[in-house]
Amino acid sequence: MSTSLQRVRPTKIELIKLRRRLELARKVHKILRERLTILINEFFTRLREAVELRKAVYSKLTKVYLDTLILYGAYGENLFDHMKGLTSKPMTAVVGLENIMGVKTHSAIVSKPSYTEEQIIPYIQTYRAQVVELLSNIVNLGRADKAVESLGKEIVRTKRKVNALEYYFIPAIERTVRYLRMKFEEREREEKARMKRVKQVLTRRKAL
């Protein structure tokens, strides 16, 4: 911990200014600490979401990959052209920004595709639903990962501010305020002693 004092002129005006600054610094410290706590909670929420999504993506990826191979083996490369032909509205993802308490991160909204119903190839609907879910999970995983990264950076930045206020800035002002108070008390005592001495001198002169 630093033991430095701020260099100030020992005047009442300075003391008032310092006390105001101390009050402001304490207020900022409280707010930043609250923000830090909420950011950390948010970070863990997003982290949990990212872990869950990653697990889901890995498990689905293997299944979809195997299913693709089976379908490809059975129906050949025309299968995907056929599926494309049945899709009336493709799957889209709108990418934009999301603001989590001042932390900007990427966000995406996935819209589900729609198809014309045609039951020619068995199992195709289940397969297509799996693929859509997998793609949606991948987009959401990207969003969650990006949020974790941005929140982590902001947490480091906020923590540095909170620590600077808590361990350096506020104690330094408190010490300076204490020093100024002591200085004023000292001056007051000196003044009292001087007045007493003057009174003594005046009484002695009167007696003469």
């Binding site: 600054r21 402001l24 707010i31 609250e34 923000r35 948010e42 308490m101 900007k104 966000s107 909204i109």
Partner: protein, 135 residues
Amino acid sequence: MSDKYIDELLKDFLRIVNKHLPYTRPTLRELRELKNPFIILRDGGIHLIDPSEIELLYQYIDPDDEGKLRIPIIIEVNPKYGEGTAVVREPIAAKVVSRFLKLSHLKEPLFIYRSQISELRRIFRTTTTVVFIAE
């Protein structure tokens, strides 16, 4: 560092923590009508709203209040209420939040605590926002 600079810096910290507040707050119904719902923030940025959250909010709201609930729902954090305590001031938002959190007694303003904030933010990621008040 000059005194003026320090004071400005401290005031800036307070200003920055609330720069994510919305500039306009459309109602739930207005947002539902948009294809890609979004809101504009005070810093000029755009905040995308997840349509699935809008649909979820519809489950917790009375049909009469659809046009009255303003999005995002504001959760106010004020250190004077104590650490980890937040307030939802708007009556309709408070009703929706208390229904979601399964709180039996609805009081206005609605006080919620850290774990409840986390739960709320986990589900309503884009339709809620936290405001920091310094008094």
